[in-house]
Structures are given as C-alpha cells and as structure tokens.
C-alpha cells in the first residue's frame, strides 16, 4: 500500500524532546495506530485510552514526563513525585540512560538528546510537516515574522515547525511544545473546527488557563469567538498568550473537513499595524493554508511511494 510512509512514531515524542510546562497527559500518545499497523497492546475496536497497557512502560513514560515537566530532577525528587520505589525508579533511569533518553550529571537527571532521534523521525512521517515547511519559510521571509505549523492528531497538539523572519530574534514558542488551544491563534483555529463534543470538553472553566491580561477565559465568550472563527476561517490572538505578541491563524483540514492543524503567523504588536493584522496577514495565511491542504491531500502523488 502506498501509505507505507506513515509510521507508528507519533508526534507526542516530539513534544518530549523539548521542554515546556504542561499538565501530564495519560496515556502518553507515544504510539500511533492506523489501519495498517496492528498493535498488540490496543484491543480491537478500542481507542488507546481503554486499551490494555503495560505497567512498567507506563512507569518509564511517567519518569520521562516528570523530567520534561521539571527540566531536571534528582532521584529523591522523582521518588517524591512518583509512587514507585526509589530502586524501581533507579532501574528505569539506568535503562533510559543506556538508551540515551536520559542524561545524568552529579546525580541530576534530565531528558537526553537521544529522544530527538525519535522526535525528528516522528516529525518526518507527518505529511503536514512535509507540505508546510517550504511555504512557511517563504511566509516568514516575506513578512519578517514568525510562521508556525501546529499539528493536531489524536488529541495531541504540537508545534511541528516554525520559521523565523528577519524581525524575530528568538521565537517565543518552543518547537515541539504542546500548544495552548484557547490563547493562541493557531489553537483557536483548531479548537473552532473540532467536533462539537471534543470542543465542549476543552471549554470548561478549569481548562482555560490565564496567560496574560487579555487571555479569554470565560467559556461563553470563547464559544462565541470560536463561532466567528468558524465563519471567517481565520483566528486571531491579540496578546492573549504572550504580552506584546499578536497572531493570525487558519485551520488546515482534510478533504472531509477534519482538522489536521493550523498555520499561524505571529509578530510583535509594535511591528504589525492593525491593517496588516486584520487584513493582509489573514490573506497571506489563507494562501499558505490552501497550498498546505492541497499538498497534504496529494502528498503521496509526488515523489517516492
């Protein structure tokens, strides 16, 4: 079959390779299942959240997730945070070290760069990433700002790629970081186009974290804004995630209208005029999204199979 390019390494691995604080998610979403790959640990007809899992692997993942959360930790700190015994944790850490997935120095553990090998590979299997890279580079070059691709798959939302234009010294998002859905333009573009029940689950009071004074945290207000986003096809974030940064995004969907992610262009409030922000950038972002959608749909038509 021609879909052999798809592998079972999911984008959550990419998240692990980079660090930014998020609440731990379980199960971890580290393996992707599709029609062509049979997994022994997923019962047929079940989604991953009800499948049988192996406890030791779960412990390993918890250790990794904890290290990502904390950036670094001693064995004592991990012991305090996790229910497993110190010796169990030590065995896990030793195994992970051997694989290059954990580094240790003077008794402090952190994530190992070996994870990037998996993350990089996971990203390469994404048709969306393939299709978006070049248009995003151009968008960043043309605007001078930060062009970002956010991928959505199996409830995992990850910054898959970002390109910086001349005006941006350092991107304000971490590559691979999970994305806040309600406070960034890309997140809102995705949220607006999720199936109703999935969206509703994410529009609860405690899910809507405050990032800046402008973050919309009222579910009703957000619901209303998302309806506008659906109508217009473009989402805005006006300093709602980072002070001084505004962004424009449009959702990337497949032929059936399911959302695959979003393309976002973000820049500093001082540089982006109201006219640019409300009219020019949305046009440019929509052009890129259209190209990305068609290229993703026909990804397997060009090049090797």
């Amino acid at each position: 079959m021609w879909s052999s390019r798809r592998s079972s390494i999911p984008l959550a691995i990419w998240t692990l390779c980079h660090s930014e604080v998020i609440s731990a998610r379980s199960p971890a979403g580290f393996i992707r299942a599709n029609d062509h790959i049979v997994q022994t640990n997923v019962a047929p007809g079940n989604d991953r959240s009800t499948g049988k899992t192996i406890q030791a692997v779960e412990t390993t993942l918890r250790v990794l997730e904890e290290l990502r959360h904390r950036e670094s930790a001693t064995l004592a700190e991990l012991d305090e945070a996790l229910p497993q015994s110190k010796s169990t944790l030590h065995h896990h850490l030793a195994t992970l070290r051997q694989a290059g997935f954990v580094d240790s120095e003077d008794g402090t553990y952190r994530l190992g760069l070996g994870l990037l090998t998996l993350g990089g590979r996971a990203r390469e299997t994404s048709d969306l990433y393939d299709a978006a890279r070049e248009p995003l580079d151009r968008l960043a070059a043309e605007t001078g700002e930060l062009a970002r691709l956010v991928g959505w798959h199996d409830e995992t939302v990850v910054t898959l790629y970002q390109a910086t234009g001349d005006a941006v010294d350092r991107p304000w998002h971490t590559l691979g970081a999970p994305n806040s859905l309600h406070s960034t333009a890309a997140g809102k573009a995705i949220l607006a186009n999720l199936p109703d029940e999935q969206r509703a689950a994410r529009l609860t009071d405690d899910a809507l974290e405050t990032h800046t004074d402008a973050t919309v945290t009222d579910p009703d207000a957000l619901r209303q804004e998302l309806a506008t986003v659906r109508g217009r096809g473009v989402a805005f974030d006006d300093e709602e995630h980072h002070e001084g940064v505004r962004g424009v995004a449009a959702p990337v969907t497949d032929g059936d209208g399911s959302v695959l992610g979003a393309v976002e262009l973000a820049g500093s409030v001082e540089r982006l005029s109201e006219e640019q922000f409300r009219t020019e950038l949305p046009d440019q972002v929509e052009n890129v999204v259209g190209v990305v959608e068609v290229s993703t749909t026909y990804a397997d038509w060009s090049g090797e199979r």
Binding site: W2, P135, G233, G255, D256, D283, Q284, E286, N287, V289, G290, V291, V294, T297, Y298, D300, W301, S302, G303, R305
Partner: protein, 360 residues
C-alpha cells in the same frame, strides 16, 4: 481499428476531469479514475460507473490504454512522468506545468520514454481556428505582421479561492490560464517564432473583493480563500523577425466578454471571434470569421467576406485526436509537448516583463 474501445484513466476528477470523462464516454470508450479526494472518487464512480483509485500509480497498474491528467497544475509533473514511465500516452490539461523548469522536466520525460504527450489547448481544435490556420498556411494574408489576441471575461474567475487562484498550485493567474490559450494560438499562427522582447503589466483587482459579484463560475467558489494571482494582464510581444502581437487577457474586467483574434497581413486581414456564449451571457453564439481586404479593378474597393463553417466542440475534437494517436501511435499535428513548452516560456516572459517594470 476505428471502433477499438479504449480504457482511459483520468487523474484528477474535478471540473476538467469530469468534462474529459463525459466526452470520452460519448466517444464510446471506457473510463477509470484517480483522485486523492474520496468525495471526488465517489461522484465519479456514481456518474460514470467506472472504477477509481486513490493513487495514480494504482490506476496506471490497472488495465488502462491512455491517461488524461487534470490535476492541480503543480502536480502535472510527477503524475505525467509516472504515466510515461508506466508506458502510457498522456493528454495533459493546459498549461503544461506551473513553471518552465517543471515543463522542461515533463517534455524531457516524454522524449526519453517516447510516449505521446498532448497538451489540452483545445481552442486549437475549433473548426474556425483550423480554417484560419489554413488561410495563413497558404499565405492568403501575405506576410502576417501583427496579431491582436483578446481573451476577456467580465466576471469569470475560475474556482476563485481554490487551487486555480493559488500561485503555488496553478503557477499563476489569468496569464497561465486564458493567457496560455491566447499565446498558444498566436505562436501557432506565427509558426512558433522566437520571442525577442516583451512588455507587460499584470493586475490583481477583483479576486479578493468581498463584494465580487458574478453570474457564473467555472469550478468551485472558494470565496477567495486562496487568492494570490493576477486577474488581468496586457502584454506586447516582439518576435525576432520583427513581427508583433498584443495580448489582452482578463478573468474579470468591466468590459464586454471577448475571445477574439485580429490578424494583419500585407495582403489581407482577418477577425475571428470564438467567444464562449457562457462568457458573453447573451443569446446565441459568437462564432465568426471575417476576411478584410482591399482590391482594385474598375474601382478600388474593400472586400469584407464572412467565412462560415460548422461549429464544433473543440474538447471533443481534441479528445478524438488524442485517442486516435493512442490507437495508431501517430502523433497529432498539433498540441505537442514542445509547443506547450514554448507557450510556457512565453508565459514566463510575460511574468518577467511585468516584474521588471514593477507592474505586477
């Protein structure tokens, strides 16, 4: 031999693909289709009762005798080359490719594999145009010095906001679309001369407008979701032998729709009107061929003669020519990949000229 039934694979089952499929069915041949979009496949299967595939390679592996490629233009290259390499003759929708480099790759692959590659400049198959060409060939006009080509619609942006109006996917706007037709006709009339100099302006004035009002649209209306191409252009071409052509094309203009060619020769001139009645939005058709000359005799006088011939369906004539070539292995006398490559280069020259002048 003539009634041999062929199976033709259509790659890209949108508006163009569906038109080709209809004509092929009318000509009594069988179909198969390929598209990555499941909706397009389902609609095609239902309408034509023909098998479809998600990937063109699977279509090429199936028992097809020839292939029509009507995908977004940027996909012409990979799809056509795979088809040639599978040993199949190909009719490609126009323009040949999204840029010259890609067009060259297609032409190179066609030559390398020896397959027939025809490109869908169907207006070349209009009876009126073939008649006009025959007058040119027998030097009825003397030396042809200038051609004035106009291909203007009042509001006729195709698939506004879909791949048709994306620079990345279509390679450009109206110059790629209508402009490539006009250039193909002009270059054919002049027998494929070398272009020496081009002056051009391109404009984008209508496509992005929220108040874009129109009476019909070819393809789907994407509400200008993707729109980064020109919707009108004016160009002046000078050929190496000093002859000239002017090209006026518009998807949208506040003007009467027209698809016309005016020829000036040293002995006679001509005016050909093949305006699509759907563009003109008027009763009746406009299918005219007029000859203009000056004669002497007892008194000097002007002669304006009206040439009338049967109106044909150029799509059908094009498809017939292609399928005849597939059957016999003999290349058609027009619409070769090399002609289409010359058109592609002319399109590029217009974009370069517009870029140079800053009028783009």
């Amino acid at each position: 031999m003539d009634d041999e039934v062929l199976t033709v694979g259509i790659v890209g089952l949108g508006a163009h693909g569906t038109t080709h499929a209809r004509v092929i069915t009318e000509l009594g041949h069988d179909l198969a289709g390929a598209d990555a979009e499941s909706d397009a496949r389902a609609a095609f299967e239902e309408r034509f009762d023909a098998p479809t595939y998600e990937h063109p390679a699977d279509l090429f592996d199936a028992d097809v005798d020839a292939v029509v490629v009507s995908t977004p233009t940027s996909l012409h290259e990979p799809v056509a080359i795979d088809a040639f390499e599978a040993g199949l003759d190909v009719l490609l929708e126009k323009p040949l490719a999204a840029d010259v480099e890609s067009a060259e790759a297609i032409a190179e692959a066609a030559d390398r594999t020896g397959r027939i590659c025809m490109v869908g400049f169907h207006h070349r198959f209009e009876n009126l145009f073939r008649l006009l060409e025959s007058y040119v060939d027998e030097s009825y006009f003397g030396d042809l010095s200038h051609v004035d080509a106009t291909f203007v619609r009042r509001r006729g942006i195709p698939g506004r906001g879909t791949w048709y109006t994306s620079a990345d996917l279509a390679g450009g706007g109206v110059v790629m679309d209508s402009g490539s037709h006009a250039l193909d006709m002009v270059l054919a009339l002049f027998d494929w001369p070398e272009i020496e100099h081009v002056a051009a302006t391109t404009r984008s004035e209508f496509g992005r407008r929220e108040d874009y009002a129109h009476l019909y649209m070819y393809g789907d209306d994407g509400d200008a979701r993707m729109y980064d191409v020109e919707d009108s252009a004016t160009a002046f071409l000078e050929f190496a032998d000093g002859r000239t052509a002017s090209i006026d094309v518009a998807w949208a203009a506040n003007a009467e729709a027209a698809h016309t060619y005016e020829l000036r020769g040293t002995e006679a001139g001509a005016y050909v009107d093949v305006t699509n009645p759907a563009d003109a939005v008027r009763e009746g058709t406009r299918y005219e061929f007029q000859l203009n000359e000056v004669r002497s005799g007892p008194v000097d006088h002007y002669v304006d003669a009206e040439v009338t011939c049967e109106e044909n369906d150029p799509y059908r004539a094009e498809q017939q020519a292609f399928l005849e070539a597939v059957r016999t292995g003999e290349r058609p006398d027009r619409n070769s990949v090399h002609e289409a490559l010359a058109v592609q280069r002319a399109v590029e020259r217009i974009y370069e000229a517009a870029e140079r002048s800053g009028r783009n």
